[in-house]
Structures are given as structure tokens and as C-alpha cells.
Symmetry: C2
Subunit: 219 residues, 2 copies
Amino acid sequence: MTTAESGSLLAESVYRTLVDQIFEGALPPGAPLSVPALAARLDVSRSPVRESVQRLIHEGLAVHVPHAGARVLQLDEDAVRDVLAVREALDGLAAQEAARRASADDVAGLLELVERQADLLEEPTDPLRDARLDVELHTRVREVSGNRPLADALRRLDAQAHLYTSGMWAEESNRRIAVVEHRRIADAVAAGDADGARRAASAHVAAISVRMRRWRMSH
Amino acid sequence: MTTAESGSLLAESVYRTLVDQIFEGALPPGAPLSVPALAARLDVSRSPVRESVQRLIHEGLAVHVPHAGARVLQLDEDAVRDVLAVREALDGLAAQEAARRASADDVAGLLELVERQADLLEEPTDPLRDARLDVELHTRVREVSGNRPLADALRRLDAQAHLYTSGMWAEESNRRIAVVEHRRIADAVAAGDADGARRAASAHVAAISVRMRRWRMSH
DNA sequence: ACGGGCGGTATTACATGCAATACCCCGGTG
DNA sequence: CACCGGGGTATTGCATGTAATACCGCCCGT
């Protein structure tokens, strides 16, 4: 994170609002991000809004079009596949390093997250909540890996991919498969099996890629 | 690139100036980046400077310290190793995809760059120039890979690592080894040998990591 | 009817004003 | 001599002013 500091930073709260709206669909891919319009809508000046929009661009959630402001990122299928290809390599690396360095507490926290996700299978679907928990789980693994540049790189990629994979959480089968695959990763990390963790994590992302393509075709 | 557009964007030129000064050592790691001070020194208003500094932060070349502005990134040895570990995975992936997709022109351009680097061995050392050519070479491979998210992620990592590896170009042996390793990568890409390219590129980064550690110890 | 040029409009990019706030040095005190 | 508190100072963060510029729809000429 750049700063985090929960201090009442206006730009920070604007940023979070925009991110939330993007993920909730209020700002769909391709939507224009006009600084004056957003400033009026959120009732703040243009400065924090401009800063937030530029941050979105840097984080890869928006693109800057030369003379027409910014727009929410719009990926075609190939681009999503590219993102997932990178994640395949990096999440594998993260899991591998996590398996080497995980403390007992780390392992406990990880397993607990997986169980929480498993418990949610009994409840009705809430795609947004499920997607968030999934992000948290992956994020945890990356934190445990202790490699901050790695975690930073993955955070960006995640944000982009989740614009296009979050819808999949609505489907029961995908939720079940995800839990199984997550458990495999967590177990390997718990066992200190670095290579197994790497393979499990890479396979998980690869499987997401396949599922996504199928899901998109059936739409 | 994010915007690039040749328009005379003040913020863009300020950004480039700052990056140059960072890599040339005028702004060494840990140096404070005071917005008003830089604005006065560069004779522009604070707006483009503020924007540029925030961009540096997002790109990973500077860190924001809660109540004391920003400072040029300062990595310890472990962090550099982490960065290189990520690059090992990603540059391998980039070379692999490049080998699959390279056109005849791509290959020609790549080989020409390597030869240019080889020719430079005959001339006296110019660390800054050599480092730039090295970046260009790696960047070219990533462009050829056609995976933009991958190239973007690597660009950031490169920037960070180069703060700490650029000094190595002063040494003759390192320059020679680099050319050899680059040629291996380029040859594999030219031959369409995806797996060989991946291994060559990963090995190259791993070797950089080893050389860097040795170079740092000898100081 | 259709193509080309033109003004209205909204936007960006930059400059600057302003208040709040945290740091630092320095002098005073136990 | 060590420690603590207060004022000065510089900085951030936000708001707003302003010029240049590119786009869009409309009107006019052919």
C-alpha cells in the first residue's frame, strides 16, 4: 500500500468509493471517468478526484485516453488470458515462498480462511462477498510469502482480472471447485511442501482461466 | 506506455527529469522529494511536480512517508533479491511467449540489439548507456511477448532493481557475461524454442542476482 | 441531399491560495 | 547535564481560478 494510514484522507476515501463502484458494476468497463462530474457527484473538489483517477490508471483499473479523460478498464478476452497467465506464474511463486516461510500462525490463519469459505457454501450466493473473500485468501498467501514486490505486482493483476471473473462466483459449481483448490494450496503450504504449493497455486489459476473461458462462451 | 503522446506535457517531462536524476545518482536512494523544493528548482508550479512524485510512488521508485513527503526508494539486500526472484519468473515467462510469437522482424530487431551491445564491449565503459541498452533489450523481449500486463509488471520491477544493479555495468566481466546470456535468450527466441528461451531468461536473471550479491559484498 | 467548416461546450492541464498539521530546534527547568 | 515544552517553519492536502485545446452538433454552401 502507498500509505494506508486510516487518517481521513479525502483522496483515499474517494479512491475506495470509485473502486467499490467499479467492482459493484455502478461504473462498468468503458464508463467515462470525468473529473468534474465525479467531483460534483461526490461533493468534493476536483483535486482528490483527479488524484484518485490517476491512481486508478496507475493501478491498471482505468485507462487514460489522450484527449477524453479516463475510462474504466475494458479488457478483451485475450487480455484477460494474458493477465491470468502472469498470475499463474506469480501466484505459483507466492505459494512456493509461502510454503517455505509460513509460521504456525500463518498456517492457522490460512486454513481458517479456507474453512470460512467452505462454510459459505451452505449459504445462498453473494457474489460480491464471495469475490472479496477470494481476494483476501489470495492476498494472505502473498503476504505470507514475505515478498512485497511480488504481492504488489499481484495486487494490480488481481484488480484487473477480478473485473472479469467476479461474475463467476454466482455459479455453485465454481464456488465448490474454488474451495477444493484453495484447500489444496493451503494444505501444501501447511505441510511446507514448496513445490506442491507452487503447482497447486499455478493449477488453480490455470483452472480459473479455463473456467472463465467456458463461462464466457456460455455466458 | 500510460500516455506517452508526444504532446508537451509538463508533468511528463518533470517525471522524466526526476527519473533521470534518480538513475544518474543526483537523487540517491533515501533523498527527500519535497514538492515545493522541486517545483522551485525545476521552475514549474507544484501541480505537475506533485503529480510526478505520486507517479514515482505508484511506479515503485519512491515511497511515501506519512507526514514527511516522499523519498527515493531505498531497498535492502533482501528486497532486491525479492524483486529479482519475481523477475526470474516473469522474464522467463516473457521469453517463453516471445519465442512463440516472434515475427521475423521481431527476431531481427532483437538480434541487432544484442550485436549492438556486443559492439559496445570494444568501447570504454559508459555504465549509464550500457544500463539503458540493457533495459531496452529486456523491454524488447517483453514487447515481443505481446503480453502487456506482463510487460507493465516487469517495467516496474526493472525500475526498482536497476537502482541497485546499474553500478555493476562498470565491470568488464559483467558486461561480457551479460552479452553471452542475452545472446542465448535471443537465439532461443529466434529458434522458436519456447522452453529454452524461458530457461535462458530465468537463468540470466538468477545469474544477475548472484552477481549482484557478490558485487555488493566486495562492494 | 451531403460534405466541410465553425462555434459552443466540456475537458484537461497547470497555477496558485489556504488551512491544518507535524517536525525541529532552542531555550528553560529540575 | 539531561529532559521537556513551545514557537517557528515547512510540508501536505484540498480548493479553486484560468487558459488552451479537442470534440460535437449544426449550419451553410454546393
